[in-house]
């Protein structure tokens, strides 16, 4: 049982995909304008992540090594399409708010990264648990960034007025620049507290993006060395 709980702790705190591993920055920056959008995006991604981890773990002995990445992409893309249709049918307001970022879950590095780094090596239950942990960590980070931006930029939290009307909200925080600023500040605070983000080496040397480009990262480094 312990290793399942450890997966949750690992995903939410120790290897938080957004804040520590710095994966999936695009949706983090793009949809964190409102705390509610953060939760919606986080949970949609989590649903895809749990299912993709589960399916890939179940098929780990079937998929030949040479074609594993295209296979993963097809699996993830199918799951994302299902999720997109479900959101469109049952949560139209969320569908409008997230827009193009729902289909873009396919290229979210967290999903292919976890498939490649973890799910294809372990039994299904553990892989699904890893999906839950990572999904919760991603949701928590997105919601935190969304909450900060919503309070500062709009004076509301989850749609409710929290700052008194007399305080003028700082509009820039719900605009695109605010996304960069808030994430920069969160990482700066983390650095000041001495929490090391693992990305530093990765991001600076290469794309830092995902499991898929790990091999191409090596080639970039070789290319740069020449």
């Amino acid at each position: 049982m312990n290793q399942y709980v450890e997966r949750l702790y690992n995903g939410i705190i120790k290897e938080n995909p957004t804040l520590i591993l710095m994966l999936g920055m695009c949706p983090t920056l793009a949809v964190s304008t409102r705390a509610m959008n953060g939760i919606g995006m986080g949970l949609s991604t989590m649903a895809v992540l749990i299912l993709s981890n589960l399916v890939i773990s179940l098929l780990r002995k079937v998929i030949p090594d040479a074609v594993r990445l295209p296979s993963y992409i097809v699996i993830v893309a199918s799951l994302v399409t299902v999720t997109e249709l479900l959101i469109e049918a049952y949560l139209p307001s969320l569908y409008d708010a997230l827009g193009i970022y729902i289909p873009l879950i396919v290229v979210n590095c967290i999903i292919l990264g976890r498939a490649e780094a973890y799910a294809n090596k372990v039994p299904p239950a553990l892989a699904a648990m890893d999906g839950i942990g990572m999904g919760l960590g991603f949701t928590a980070a997105l919601t935190m960034a969304g909450l900060i931006r919503e309070v500062l930029g709009n004076g509301t939290a989850f749609g409710f007025q929290v700052l008194p009307e007399s305080v003028e909200p700082i509009g820039i925080f719900v605009q695109p620049p605010g996304a960069f600023l808030v994430i920069a500040l969160i990482i700066a605070i983390q650095n000041a507290l001495g929490i090391r983000s693992r990305q530093r080496k990765l991001v600076e040397s290469c794309d830092g993006c995902c499991g898929t480009c790990a091999s191409s990262c090596d080639r970039v480094r070789e290319g740069a060395a020449k």
Binding site: M22, M25, C26, P27, L29, A30, P70, I73, V74, A77, S78, V80, T81, E84, L85, I100, P103, L104, V106, V107, N108, C109, L112, I172, Q175, P176, P177, G178, A179, F180, L181, I183, A184, L185, I187, A188, I189, N191, A192, S197, Q199, R200, L202, V203, E204, S205, C206, D207, G208, C209, C210, T212, C213, S215, S216, R219, V220, E222, G223, A224
Partner: protein, 192 residues
């Protein structure tokens, strides 16, 4: 004609793909450390996004739409992009080794660059035809290149400055990006 020019300018400056729509952030932050690498990646991105937009548009108009397979577009586009990048890589390797040497190592990175899929999907959403899609893809990719080359320039200056310890690394780069994004907010004021 005016409409077509507007699509290119809007893609490159007004709706800048990185600073306004947050697509391709990973490579924007990762590769911008070196100016030369940034420019090469920019060249590869312009090439791939322009071709991918055209191919995706043709596929959508002549295969997916007539057969009512609209909902398959995410799966089809991502596979087409992945295959296309592979083909482009092999083609360059065979025909133009010099260009392959300059761009080749960046091509695999582009498969998972969300900007490519993002542009293809946006084009379909906006109902663009083939020419409009290609131009929109080209404009977007030029916007990406402008943003990454500018950031690379800023970062080469940052390296010589004394940055407060907690801000070193990713935070200062993100703050620079925020300032660039504020500057790019001026472009919607362009009137035609």
């Amino acid at each position: 004609m005016k409409n077509l020019i507007l699509i290119v300018v809007a893609g490159a400056l007004i709706n800048n793909v990185v600073l306004n729509q947050f697509l391709g952030i990973c490579s924007f932050l990762g590769v911008s450390k070196q100016m030369k690498a940034s420019a090469s990646l920019g060249g590869a991105v312009i090439f791939v996004i322009t071709v991918a937009s055209g191919v995706a548009s043709l596929l959508y108009d002549y295969v997916l739409k007539p057969f009512d397979l609209d909902y398959m577009k995410t799966i089809v586009f991502i596979l087409v992009i992945a295959a296309l990048v592979q083909i482009v890589e092999m083609f360059l390797k065979k025909t133009s080794p010099a260009m392959y040497k300059a761009l080749g190592i960046y091509l695999p990175l582009i498969t998972t660059n969300c900007a490519v899929l993002g542009v293809a999907l946006t084009n379909v959403q906006n109902g663009y035809n083939f020419i409009e899609s290609v131009l929109s893809g080209f404009g977007t990719a030029v916007g990406y290149t402008i943003a990454i080359v500018l950031l690379a320039g800023i970062r080469s200056r940052i390296n010589e400055e004394d940055i407060p310890a907690p801000l070193r690394g990713a935070p200062i780069v993100l703050i620079s990006a925020a300032l660039m994004s504020i500057a790019f907010m001026g472009f919607p004021g362009l009137s035609f």
